[in-house]
């Protein structure tokens, strides 16, 4: 510990602290631009110059290490003169166009100029003008305003993991830019907008929408992945116009993903459903809630009377709130006896529900996860599934942890890693082999199940890496992702992973790409049987696009086409009204309703609606309450969303360790024969993950969204099929065909076709990780 005195205030700080950190600890503000607590120290803006006793020159607080007994003066004449001098330099070439700058009102340069700038300018030369850059559909540039603090440059390299932004040129000609001809394509790129202290990088979708002082700030929680990133929804005139991170060090730190930041565009899109609609006899009519809900209640009653409760199937999005999911289960399950209630998204192996001993979860807290010495990610394209979790693992790897990835397809982790890319149907056998080899290597006894597949070569890099950390008793975390969750062998993979974890004393858990998968498991009624194996007379969807959000779009589209009645609770217009009886009921999206989500670590995060519902839309819990009453189901007299929450969770803020339990109850694990038939890798594209994201215009314009409109195969697969890169191909599953462009991608395993879970026209495609055939389109 070191002793330091700042403006007369004494404190002790840990060794290695900087003057800036010490000043923050004691609540003293030192003006700064380039310094950011999550980025490396650049010390280039020089705004933080302070006086240090015995130093002949003012020193930058952000880069000056504290020495014992140091005395610092942040407001002395020397310090303030130095700061004013720097401010003058920053302003000479900065356009004084604050009235037309989007950053106006929330600009650090503007704020500090008030304190340190002069009234008049001594600069009478011509000001610099810098051409703007095209960084893609999300980030707007006004590069003349750039003050060269390199926060964006450091973010892209250090946090996002790819050097997408740099400072080219020298001296006054330095310009911040992306690679020539390339845009900034990171899945967390929008954070540079927050980091930029001036108006050089601003939000493109938000451009000229509002002034910061006109905005109200409401707390929100991300509805797009299991991390539960904390948000600020900024609203104006009853609309969400911007989304920013709300700092929570234990969850999202100070970042959010682009999906969290820009998905709000869908909330006001023309695809919003603003009044209840009924389709009767082919005629679509807008109607009142009263009439819509009583018609729906009648239809439900009639269907149950005629065909029984098993003739109804319910699909609710795992991004629904705790309250919505609780009421859906209570209404349809408990109240009406419907068993086909699917709140698990694209999961296709429902044995995971029946054989799990508790609610599957991360297996540890997010903060604990970050402390791992080795991460083994199994079956996850983590950057696309949970961009910030991937980011946090990247930081741990930078601090020295190891990363192993076993997956059928994986975007680069953008950090040091050992990757093993295998066919989806070999995920299980590969995991067994790895587990078997590691356990043998560290000299522990091998459980029978782990002996089902042979040993890998002695110098297999993944085995070596895991064995090394396991051998020295390091902290290992095995993380299963959506590729397992959505796999037909999910149960076996989970079992093997848990046995492996046990054998090497590792942590083991799940990373879900839905906001409330933990809640969905918790709230599912005991009798539920979410399979849709047989045709239902009536389909009820809640917050989903029935086909796009299904594990098997082909089966679901058959269901939809053959159903007599379709009831869709959704913020958005349905893609088509096909059934003889269709009802579309506008329920509030995440921004217009109160509710709560339970994240992957089991933490309950509640939020209020940020804005009033658009049009006649109503919060889901209210709609379900009324429907419950119309169907005379007892116990639907909640007064508030908090009432519902209490009924669902009691006063829990975090699920208990007895509820959260990753144990899997299965003895019999069998491994498929190896074969070479073509298989589909049906990952969920990052910007198709749910109904909201899918309708966010700017996200759909990104390169990441574009990549998902291709059928990708490695060169070996392509040549064996006599297909060339760029050819038009016909893919077919279950007899239905679909035409798409082929792309070579050598990161894929042999004889696998990456064909995303959701693409335009994907309704004809079947199993996400099932057999597929591909031929050249003549």
């Amino acid at each position: 510990m070191l002793e330091i005195e700042i403006d007369g205030k004494k404190l002790t700080v840990p060794d290695g602290s900087t003057v800036m950190e010490a000043a923050e600890a004691v609540g003293t503000y030192i003006p700064h631009f380039c310094y950011h607590k999550k980025l490396s120290v650049a010390a280039n803006c020089r705004m933080c110059l302070v006086q240090v006793e015995k130093a002949p020159k003012p020193l930058p607080a952000c880069a000056t290490p504290v020495t014992d007994g140091m005395r610092v003066f942040t407001k002395s004449d020397l310090a303030v003169k130095a700061q004013q001098g720097v401010m003058e330099f920053l302003l000479i070439n900065h356009p004084l166009d604050c009235p037309i700058c989007d950053q106006g009102g929330e600009c650090q340069l503007q704020d500090l100029a008030v304190g340190y700038g002069d009234v008049d300018s001594r600069f009478s030369e011509v000001k610099r003008v810098v051409p703007n850059k095209d960084l893609g559909p999300l980030i707007s540039t006004d590069m003349t305003r750039c003050i060269h603090c390199t926060r964006c440059v450091r973010f892209s390299e250090e946090i996002a993991g790819a050097q997408e932004i740099g400072m080219a040129g020298r001296g006054e000609h330095s310009e911040v830019m992306s690679f020539i001809g390339l845009t900034v394509d990171s899945e967390i790129s929008g954070n540079v907008i927050d980091l930029c202290p001036v108006g050089a990088l601003t939000s493109k979708p938000f451009r000229y929408q509002a002034r910061s002082w006109e905005l109200s700030r409401r707390k929100g929680v991300s509805p797009h992945d299991g991390l539960g990133s904390n948000l600020i929804l900024q609203t104006k005139g009853g609309r969400v116009v911007r989304v920013l991170p709300r700092e929570n060090e234990s969850i999202n730190e100070c970042w959010i993903s682009d999906r969290d930041r820009f998905s709000y565009e869908a909330l006001m899109s023309s695809e919003r459903l603003l009044t209840p609609e009924l389709t009767i006899g082919g005629q679509v009519v807008s109607t009142s809630w009263d009439s819509a809900l009583s018609k729906v209640a009648e239809e439900i009653k009639g269907t149950i009377e005629k065909f029984g409760a098993d003739s109804i199937g319910v699909v609710a999005s795992p991004n629904s709130t705790v309250e919505e999911l609780y009421l859906i289960n209570k209404l349809f399950g408990g109240g009406l006896g419907v068993r086909a209630i699917n709140t698990f998204g694209r999961m296709s192996d429902y044995r995971l529900v029946s054989e799990s001993e508790g609610v599957r979860w991360l297996g540890q807290s997010i903060s604990e996860l970050r402390q791992s010495d080795l991460f083994m990610i199994v079956g996850s394209d983590l950057r696309m599934e949970s961009p910030l979790l991937a980011q946090q693992i990247r930081q741990s790897v930078k601090r020295g942890a190891e990363l192993c990835v076993l997956s059928p397809s994986s975007s680069k982790q953008l950090c040091r890693s050992v990757e093993r890319i295998v066919r989806p149907d070999e995920l299980l056998s590969s995991l067994v082999s790895i587990a078997h080899s590691v356990v043998v290597k560290i000299g522990k006894s091998v459980p029978a199940v782990l002996q089902l597949a042979g040993l890998l070569a002695d110098d297999d890099p993944m085995v070596e890496a895991i064995a090394k950390v396991a051998g020295r008793g390091g902290r290992i975390s095995i993380l299963l992702g959506e590729q397992v969750e959505n796999s037909p062998q999910a149960l076996e993979i989970a079992k093997v992973a848990s046995l492996f974890a046990e054998a090497i004393s590792a942590e083991f858990g799940w990373s879900f790409a839905s906001a409330n998968k933990v809640g969905a498991q918790l709230l599912t009624v005991d009798s539920a049987d979410p399979t849709f194996s047989r045709q239902r007379k009536m389909l009820i969807g809640f917050g989903v696009d029935l086909c796009a959000d299904s594990p098997n779009a082909q089966l679901m589209s058959h269901q939809v086409r053959a159903a007599d009645a379709l009831v869709l609770f959704s913020p958005f217009k349905p893609l088509s009204h096909v059934a003889p009886f269709s009802a579309s009921l506008p329920v509030a999206p995440f921004s217009e309703t109160g509710g709560s989500y339970i994240n992957i670590e089991g933490v309950v995060q509640a939020f209020n609606g940020a804005v009033r519902c658009a049009g006649d839309a109503r919060p889901g819990w209210k709609v379900l309450r009324v429907l419950g009453n119309l169907l005379s189901i007892p116990g639907f007299d909640y007064q508030s969303v908090e009432d519902v929450r209490r009924a669902a969770l009691g006063d829990l803020e975090k699920l208990s360790s007895s509820t959260l339990n990753n144990s899997i109850d299965v003895e019999d694990v069998r491994i498929n024969e190896k074969h070479n038939a073509l298989i589909r890798v049906g990952d969920v594209p990052i910007y198709q993950s749910d109904a909201v994201v899918r309708r966010s215009h700017s996200l759909q314009e990104t390169k990441l969204a574009g990549c998902s409109r291709l059928a990708r195969m490695n060169s070996k697969t392509l040549s064996s099929l006599m297909i060339n890169h760029g050819d038009n191909v016909l893919v077919s599953q279950g007899g239905a065909e679909f035409s798409i462009v082929a792309e070579e991608d050598d990161t894929l395993p042999d004889f696998a076709v990456a064909l995303p879970a959701v693409i335009d026209g994907c309704g004809v495609l079947g199993e996400l990780y099932g057999p597929i055939s591909v031929k050249k389109n003549m």
Partner: protein, 427 residues
């Protein structure tokens, strides 16, 4: 161009011999004797460093930091890789001595670096050579190969068990890459931008490892010191200013060139060595230590001796030893305009005062030169100088300010004349 020596670095070199750079010639004039002396006499690392300290050799790259002291900062016991780096990025306007060293006597540098590597327990060295002297880079590569072939460089040097690898690397001509930490960044393959110090290269240098950086002339002085003794070197110059020094003399003299003479030689004598003023011109001013050193008017200059202390007392710096001589035909406003343009163009651009300030300085001087200046401009220049100097990441900021300060101190009248009469006092 003339090369003249009465000294250490070019000791015994026959400049008329086109092969003077070669190994056999170097050995004939006593080359590698110092290295052999160390190895055969098993002289300890500490004794080598002590000898260098005794010599009072000061860094020839510009800052004049005592070399022996710098070497003693290297954590010799550090378990990982350590690096030795030579700075041949010579980019300071007026300076052209290091270029001649690697062209005419490259083995002196190689031997000096091997000895330095030995003294500090370093096994890998790099010589970073300015990008615009490509022929000399080739020459240095050829000399390296000769040394390797003769077993003087590489594994197990002269059977001693000591190994030292030395590589040449050429930059692309950016002045800023001569700043030691920018040089390291560039050597690592990154954009050449200075690092904030601390940490200093001795603890966090090339690839984050302990690193010692010296100038070409500094290293090339070492063989003499070891061979003849630190005391002898010291006695060549004056106390605290040991040895001889290479002066790159340019401007209005009859014989511009490199002159290696004892430290402390009166400037008048050095001027005479260079053939005196060209075409009978009259001395007006001298920049005594490279373009960043403040200018000194003739009357002050004729009284100084050429060493760190004397020039510093006169209000300037010995710097890299580039002596720019100006006769009365020179317009000081125009001269400053050229100097300021250099720093404006060469600023790396990362830190605010230098990026913004150097351009501002240049534009004001340019305006004055064009007859568009105003009376307030001189105070503005001085005030800006204060806001730049000492507030930047590296010393380029100071380097840009010193010429301005020097000119305004000694030749303010000329600037005032430009402003008031919208024309030049000289022409």
């Amino acid at each position: 161009m003339t090369v003249y020596t009465k000294g250490v670095v070019f000791d015994g070199v026959d400049f008329d011999d086109p092969d003077c750079w070669k190994l056999d010639r170097y050995v004939k004039r006593g080359g590698y004797a110092a290295l052999r002396k160390i190895i055969e006499g098993s002289i300890s690392q500490d004794s080598v460093i002590a000898e260098v300290k005794l010599s009072a050799l000061r860094g020839r790259g510009g800052a004049g930091f005592p070399t022996g002291l710098k070497w003693s900062f290297m954590p010799r016991q550090f378990p990982g890789q350590k690096y030795l780096v030579c700075n041949t990025d010579e980019g300071e306007p007026g300076t052209f001595k290091d270029k001649d060293i690697i062209e005419l006597n490259p083995h002196a540098l190689i031997e000096g670096m091997i000895i330095a590597g030995y003294a500090m327990g370093i096994s890998v060295g790099y010589n970073y050579i300015h990008g615009e002297i490509f022929q000399d880079y080739r020459r240095f590569e050829a000399a390296l190969q000769e040394a390797r072939d003769a077993g003087l460089l590489g594994e197990n040097i002269l059977g001693s068990g000591f190994s030292f690898q030395l590589y040449a690397h050429h930059g692309y001509g950016a002045y800023i890459c001569g700043e030691e930490t920018a040089l390291l960044e560039s050597l690592e393959g990154k954009k050449g931008q200075p690092r904030f110090k601390p940490p200093f290269p001795a603890s966090f240098g090339l690839y984050g490892k302990p690193t010692t950086i010296n100038n070409t002339e500094t290293f090339a002085s070492v063989p003499f010191i070891i061979r003849e003794g630190g005391q002898k070197f010291l006695e060549l110059g004056k106390p605290n200013n040991g040895g001889t020094k290479l002066f790159s003399i340019s401007g209005h003299v009859s014989r511009p060139g490199n002159y290696e003479v004892p430290m402390g030689m009166p400037f008048a004598e050095l001027l005479a060595l260079a053939g005196g003023m060209r075409d009978g011109g009259k001395l007006k001013a001298v920049i005594p230590g490279g373009s960043s050193a403040p200018v000194l008017p003739a009357q002050i200059m004729m009284d100084v001796t050429m060493d760190y202390d004397s020039i510093s007392k006169a209000g300037s710096m010995l710097g890299s030893g580039a002596v720019i001589v100006m006769d009365e035909s020179v317009c000081m406003v125009k001269a400053l305009r050229r100097l300021s343009y250099f720093y404006y163009e060469e600023s790396c651009g990362q830190c605010t005062p230098c990026r913004e300030g150097t351009g501002w300085l240049y534009r004001i001087v340019d305006r004055i030169e064009r007859g568009e200046g105003s009376l307030g401009d001189l105070d503005l220049l001085e005030s800006l100088g204060k806001n730049i100097a000492g507030r930047t990441i590296c010393a380029l900021g100071d380097a840009a300010v010193m010429p301005v300060q020097g000119m305004l101190k000694h030749f303010r009248d000329e600037f005032l004349f430009h402003i008031e009469n919208k024309r030049c006092l000289v022409h």
